[in-house]
């Protein structure tokens, strides 16, 4: 046998695994960013309030309650950084990423696997003292850097066939979603005091938000000195020069599906591309019209649209041949429900799917 194969096949299960591995890793980074910015928002004497905002945007009140935990800074930090039973926390996300990676080892590079494996062991060994004071910021940095090492290694070593596109799409959809959540944190923060006091506090908060999203310097370059909140929102959502903007994520997803269609002949991309186009249209809406009251609703509907996009990708490419398990079809159905506005609807059963499917081992 001689010559090189031009187009290697990709198992639907592997496409799904890559998509979710990338999502979970990206989620870990964003959680670290959210925790970092929450700590920055923390004002003396009102710590619980900032952390409550984090719980609100993660829709985790119930999770905290189930564990009988009061809403205070330490409980929330432990909930997201130490508790492996919390599905929205960092330990569970890195576990899910690694579980997916294990099934993907024939496809991903050895260097990707090794880094993720070591990073996983590192994150499961976070010590309680690292959640306190200045240690927390260092911890968040370490987590971010771990993910950045992952994305860097991936960029430099991952074979760029079909699988890479699905990996990238997973990362982008998660990143877009997390940017909307980061922005939403602002909505949940009460800004007390007089108008002037509030103006100063708000300014600080917007700056922190930009820093958390790694957009502070970029924003400075494009913004006028007398910027208004709407400018920050427009930047985070719509500036395609900003790496974490929703608009850039959407643009890149469009390119990936276009390539999957043209180069790999995946015909089922058509409805997905349409859905992406809808997102693009929604993002074109002038930001001023959303502020101050409509922003949360807008972010919410954006999150729902992203969740629907994820689901569509799932039905088109991952599960088309596979009978749905009862529990999956149920929870997927409920994601569209109007009452689910705050839910992390994308952290459905998919992340653990590969696990449940292989449990029949003797």
């Amino acid at each position: 046998m001689s010559g090189l194969q031009r187009r290697t096949p990709l198992l639907t299960r592997d496409a799904e695994g890559l998509f979710w591995m990338a999502r979970y890793v990206e989620r870990v980074e964003n959680l670290a960013r959210l925790i970092d910015v929450t700590q920055t928002f923390e004002s003396p004497g009102r710590e619980a309030e900032s952390w409550s905002a984090l719980v609100a945007i993660m829709a985790d009140y119930a999770g905290l309650q189930e564990r009988g935990l009061a809403m205070d800074a330490m409980n929330v930090k432990r909930f997201y950084l130490l508790d492996p039973t919390n599905p929205t926390g960092i330990p569970a996300c890195i576990e899910a990423a690694r579980t997916n990676a294990r099934t993907l080892r024939p496809l991903i590079s050895t260097e990707m696997w090794m880094q993720l494996n070591v990073f996983h062991h590192d994150l499961l060994a976070i010590e309680p003292w690292e959640l306190d004071g200045d240690a927390l910021s260092r911890l968040c940095r370490r987590i971010k850097e771990g993910v950045q090492a992952h994305t860097g290694i991936t960029e430099g070593t991952f074979f760029r066939d079909q699988g890479w596109h699905f990996y990238e799409v997973g990362r982008l959809i998660e990143r877009a979603d997390q940017t909307t959540r980061l922005l939403d944190i602002k909505y949940h923060l009460l800004t007390p005091g007089t108008v002037e006091e509030r103006r100063v506090v708000e300014l600080t908060q917007w700056n922190s938000l930009l820093r958390a999203a790694a957009g502070y310097h970029g924003f400075r370059r494009v913004a006028q000195a007398g910027f208004v909140p709407a400018d920050v929102v427009a930047f985070l959502l719509g500036d395609t020069s900003f790496a974490r903007s929703v608009a850039l994520c959407v643009e890149q997803m469009d390119w990936h599906f276009g390539t999957l269609r043209s180069r790999y002949g995946l015909r089922d991309t058509a409805p997905v591309l349409e859905r992406i186009e809808d997102l693009r249209v929604a993002l074109g809406e002038p930001v001023l019209r959303m502020l101050p009251d409509g922003l949360h609703d807008f972010l919410d509907s954006m999150q729902r649209d992203l969740a629907k996009l994820g689901e569509l990708i799932g039905t088109m490419f991952f599960r088309d041949w596979r009978p749905l398990k009862q529990s999956q079809s149920q929870s997927q159905g409920s994601q569209d429900g109007p009452g689910q506005d705050q839910s992390q609807s994308q952290s459905g059963p998919e992340g653990t799917q590969s696990q449940s499917q292989s449990q029949g081992t003797p």
Partner: protein, 482 residues
């Protein structure tokens, strides 16, 4: 030399056992060179580097996973840094011996599933073959390409106190361990380049390419560019790392049962671009679990209709179904006769003397000499169910006697072999530890034997059980090129 820096070998004493390193001759001095180099490194540095090497294995995920109810623990197969050396001349004999054995196993399977000459000629009792739990009537009269049933074979060899090799058992179903052979060499080259420097070793990293090429060869006839896949039970299987390794080395998809489907008696895999034909399946799933419509109906690991597709000649399974009858421990006892019957030559590798308890004289002998024999169940693997007579307590011997009486056909016995030892790094320094050798043979049209094989070492002092599930480790196995 400083008074307190005696070499790591000065307190090493293999006693009456054959030592793979210190008793060598005719290897061109490599063993001596390795000894000198290890002495030069010194025990402390050796320990540090060995520990770093094992950490590497862990980080690389070259592990098997042990699951309990709430946790999953990754364990490495412990790596001992002192290599096991096989001289070129020794290997030439082993290689021919393994290839001979594989030929005989394949001829035996072809015969019992088709012409049945060997039982008619009275060489082996028919009930031992056709009454065997691993005999598959589904295979009767079914042609396989090149007459190859056992495409991947692992043959366990041991060495006695005189340095003579003998076959302990054949693994003709889904032998595992080859990934460690290759990974151990990589680790050796990475972590102990100073031990390997200048040594002329036969390479081991060709295994994946050879395997792929055999899998291509055995695909159904008339297929130009066959699609090969490796079928794994999934991440919960303890050999999952090896499945990953082999899929990667072959460059083929690692599939699970749910990734495959059978339509029109053809096997397809589910890809993002739709269904795609599969022609050869290297399956790492036991016969019983392959197809719930034919074998165990409760199996979730297999593919419904797979056996049908295979019987229609639309897909090849490697190894073929029903090879377990050939590596049965009772059939093993007949291997020298089987080799002579089909090949008209003596076995190059001898058997360990074996008493078949299913035969009256074998049972009588075993019961009379229990405290001197090793008693093994015929159908088990992984070192389970073994009673080592000379090491067993009175109660253990009584238990073995009761088991023998209850179901004699389930047992064989063998004399206790003084397994060879090799210097192994322990808390106390370099100490002799028993080891075996599992060479791997790949057969499509022809047989190729991977130089060396997996040297498994029993890390516990005095232990003869080398299985990884029971505290075994492994060594890099060097076959000298000249």
């Amino acid at each position: 030399m400083q008074p307190n820096s005696a070499t790591p070998f000065s307190s090493y004493d293999p006693g009456a056992y054959y030592c793979e390193l210190t008793a060598r001759d005719g290897d061109g001095g490599s063993a001596g060179l390795v000894r000198d180099r290890i002495s030069a490194i010194g025990l402390d540095a050796l320990r540090l580097r060995a520990r770093a090497a094992e950490r590497d294995l862990f980080n690389l995920g070259i592990t098997f996973t042990v699951y309990s109810e709430s946790t999953a623990i990754d364990r490495i197969l412990p790596f001992d840094c002192v290599p096991r050396i096989i001289a070129a001349k020794e290997w030439a004999v082993l290689e021919r011996g393994v290839a001979q054995r594989v030929r005989a196993l394949n001829l035996f399977l072809a015969d019992i599933y088709n012409t049945r000459h060997i039982t008619r000629d009275g060489v082996i009792p028919p009930e031992l073959v056709y009454g065997n739990v691993n005999y598959r009537p589904e295979m009767e009269g079914f042609p396989v390409r090149f007459g190859t049933y056992v495409h991947i074979c692992g043959i366990d060899l041991v060495r006695d106190e005189h340095g003579r090799f003998a076959v302990l058992e054949d693994n003709a179903r889904t032998p595992s361990g080859v990934s460690y052979v290759v990974e151990n060499r990589h680790l050796m080259l990475r972590a102990f380049p100073d031990l390997v420097a200048g040594m002329k070793l036969r390479p081991v990293d060709d295994y994946g390419r050879r395997l792929r090429s055999a899998m291509d060869e055995i695909a159904p006839e008339g297929i130009d560019n066959p699609q090969v896949v490796l079928l794994s039970p999934g991440i919960y299987n303890s050999a999952y790392f090896e499945h990953v390794f082999l899929a990667r080395e072959m460059g083929v998809p690692l599939v699970e049962g749910a990734d495959l489907t059978v339509e029109d008696d053809k096997v397809w895999m589910r890809t993002t671009a739709g269904l795609r034909r599969v022609h050869t399946i290297y399956r790492r799933i036991a016969d019983d679990f392959l197809d719930p419509t034919v074998f165990r109906p409760d199996s979730l690991l297999g593919v419904p209709g797979l056996i049908g597709a295979w019987r229609h000649g639309n897909v090849t399974l490697a190894n073929a179904v029903g090879t377990g009858v050939a590596d049965d421990k009772a059939v093993y006892a007949y291997m020298p006769r089987i080799i002579r019957y089909y090949l008209g030559e003596d076995a190059i590798l001898s058997n360990v003397e074996t008493h078949i308890c299913g035969e009256p004289e074998g049972l009588a002998y075993t019961l009379a000499n229990l405290e001197r024999l090793v008693v093994k169940p015929v159908g088990e693997s992984g070192g389970y169910g073994i009673t080592v007579g000379p090491r067993a307590s009175r109660a253990e011997l009584d238990a073995a006697r009761a088991q023998l009486a209850a179901d004699p056909a389930n047992w064989i016995s063998q004399p206790m072999i003084s397994l060879s030892v090799a210097p192994t790094l322990t808390e106390a320094g370099l100490r002799p530890r028993h080891l075996d050798l599992r060479p791997f043979a790949i057969t499509g049209r022809e047989t190729w034997v991977l130089p060396g094989g997996l040297s498994r070492v029993a890390l516990k002092e005095g232990s003869l059980i080398v299985n990884s599930s029971q505290g075994g480790g492994s060594k890099d196995t060097w076959v000298l090129a000249e």
